[in-house]
Assembly symmetry: C2
């Protein structure tokens, strides 16, 4: 696939405008754009602006209701339950994490769970909202079932990412990962390249290891069996039951606590909205000690990890978030990579809304 580079500020302006044409107001459009483009800046193309077309079709199809009001179902000084009422995931996500942050600043800990939402972009965006305020932040979301439980052949759990972030120098800590071995996006890449899938990533409709990425992508949305393997793979010996356990815990923290849909009911055709559930957690670690000392000891440990001895043939040990921050700095300076298919899709949407794409962005 051919890639072009475009300036961040250009694509941001255009993206904002497109979301306004979808029907969102100025502030809403800015929030959604901010979440989407952080993904592209981090180099996570799958959750970035390439989602624009998909979001528009979900708005047209009724899964996403652009006029929904977020409802506060229940609230305490440390917690809240929000009903997104089929609204855009990024909007309820920002609101929920802001509530968790306020509660953490007032009470020490804040935990907000959300039901009846939609795709909310990268979980790491919300974890870093807390990190930027000098807090420990966690966010999780469920998603349409694609992970198969250990010894099963039916997708029953979402890819269920977990993001954890905390301030550190010179890089914040940012773990942002699905609880499957790889995401659906990675399977799509193998499929586009017509390359066989390495064993241990996914199962066919009989629940057997498969090397055919197209098979998985065809079967899962049609509920024909098979899907992605949880982190740890298909066997207990390699810890597959552990990844399955983490994916299940994410369903518990999102769908079960919020009273929403578990992954096996999310995004079923005919349901009213996608029913995706999220959770947001913020901790003011000042409740445990001097914040600066805690940050310093964390930075020291992360540095010890990066400086520890390398395996034969390896040149660098990363701590989580380092790659994302490096990608961010590079792309802010040198432009955001966009593949030609995505650029074409954006152009089509622009034409539909009578926007001249070339008035906004030009390839660098």
């Amino acid at each position: 696939m051919a890639y072009s580079k475009v300036k961040y500020e250009d694509i941001k302006k255009l993206c904002n405008l497109v979301f306004k044409r979808f029907g969102f107001n100025e502030k809403e459009s800015e929030t959604i754009t901010d979440v989407l483009l952080l993904s592209d800046l981090y180099g996570i193309e799958s959750h970035g602006i390439q989602r624009l077309v998909k979001y528009y079709s979900e708005i047209k199809g009724g899964l996403i209701n652009i006029n929904s009001e977020i409802k506060i179902v229940k609230e305490t000084p440390v917690s809240a339950v929000l009903d997104a009422q089929a609204g855009m995931g990024q909007l309820v996500g920002e609101k929920a994490m802001n509530m968790a942050i306020e509660k953490a600043e007032t009470s020490g800990i804040g935990m907000v769970v959300v039901r009846n939402s939609n795709h909310y972009g990268i979980a790491g965006y919300y974890a870093r909202m807390a990190e930027k305020k000098g807090l420990l932040g966690i966010s999780m979301t469920n998603s349409p079932a694609v992970i198969v439980p250990t010894f099963g052949k039916e997708a029953m759990l979402g890819t269920n990412p977990i993001a954890i972030s905390m301030p550190a120098e010179p890089y914040p800590f940012l773990l942002d990962m699905s609880t499957s071995v790889v995401t659906r996006g990675k399977i799509e890449v193998y499929n586009k390249r017509q390359e066989p899938l390495p064993l241990g990533l996914g199962l066919n409709s009989e629940g057997e290891d498969t090397t055919d990425p197209g098979d998985i992508l065809y079967n899962v949305p049609r509920k024909l069996g098979g899907g992605l393997l949880p982190l740890g793979g298909s066997k207990e010996l390699t810890g597959g039951h552990k990844g399955y356990g983490f994916a299940l815990a994410v369903e518990m923290f999102t769908a079960i606590l919020s009273g929403g849909f578990t992954g096996n009911y999310v995004h079923l055709d005919g349901s009213d909205g996608s029913g995706t559930c999220h959770s947001f957690f913020a901790v003011n670690y000042g409740i445990f000690g001097d914040k600066k000392s805690i940050e310093d000891s964390f930075s020291k440990y992360l540095n010890e990890l990066r400086d520890s001895k390398k395996a034969k043939g390896a040149v660098r040990i990363y701590t989580h978030g380092e790659k994302e921050i490096e990608a961010y700095n590079d792309k802010m300076k040198n432009g955001v990579s966009m593949n030609d298919i995505t650029l074409k899709e954006i152009n089509d949407i622009c034409e539909y809304f009578d926007i001249q794409m070339s008035d906004y962005i030009s390839k660098i």
Copy 2:
């Protein structure tokens, strides 16, 4: 290895007595015994009564101080930091989880972190303390460094288990897992059997995949390089950086937040105490909705997972905790399995303290 079965009540009485002879009072001995034997009842031999000899040598060696007072360093309505002052892990563990439970019952959420502690047995014991009170419970602990970061060859993180438990019918949910592919105990089993290790579990001193379990067991405590692989294995493709991230997050939630030692400093010869750190977390999920409805929807989902379609050749899908509860019921009825080496070690300790082991236990 030959195994015998002994009655739970018999081994409990003897174990209590031995801990009293070590110098613990009646209540302390009961708590430690309760934690240790739950591990045997769950079928997790490595963390059960076979630790008796090791604990005694750690008391004699000064790592464990039986007279230490647990110090409350800092406290808020939702949190506390405890300094175990080199005391027994089970004692500070029980106190810390009880504090987290009280805070959750009063404020909705409780989070207690502990520094300067020792081995505390199975993390699942503490998570279930909360579960038995109708709360969501989490516990984590760090441990002497044995996990190697992705692309490294130096053990820098403990096996760092995470346990999560929540009420459900007919089985509670109990995830209790190390963040390595397998625990050190599993490597010991391969070594005892003189069997080659499957690839993907551990690294040799150069940071290369190894099939030699003895190599890992020799190298790690001597800091010669190598160790266990994080969940997901040695490669980013198989998600090794995810397991590494979870292990790192456990260091953050235990050592960093409590102001204690990270895994690479735990249990170093010459340090005063082992420096192990734990964390305990309880949530009264009544803050999110009707408790009974939440439990019912969780039970329903766990049941759907167990009832979902099986992979070709598989007969059963488990949810986490099911195997432990089945083992518990079996062993309470039919006796606890103890291997001959452990029985011999207990007999030696009994002789040392002038206890006639046969007065207390007989093989079934």
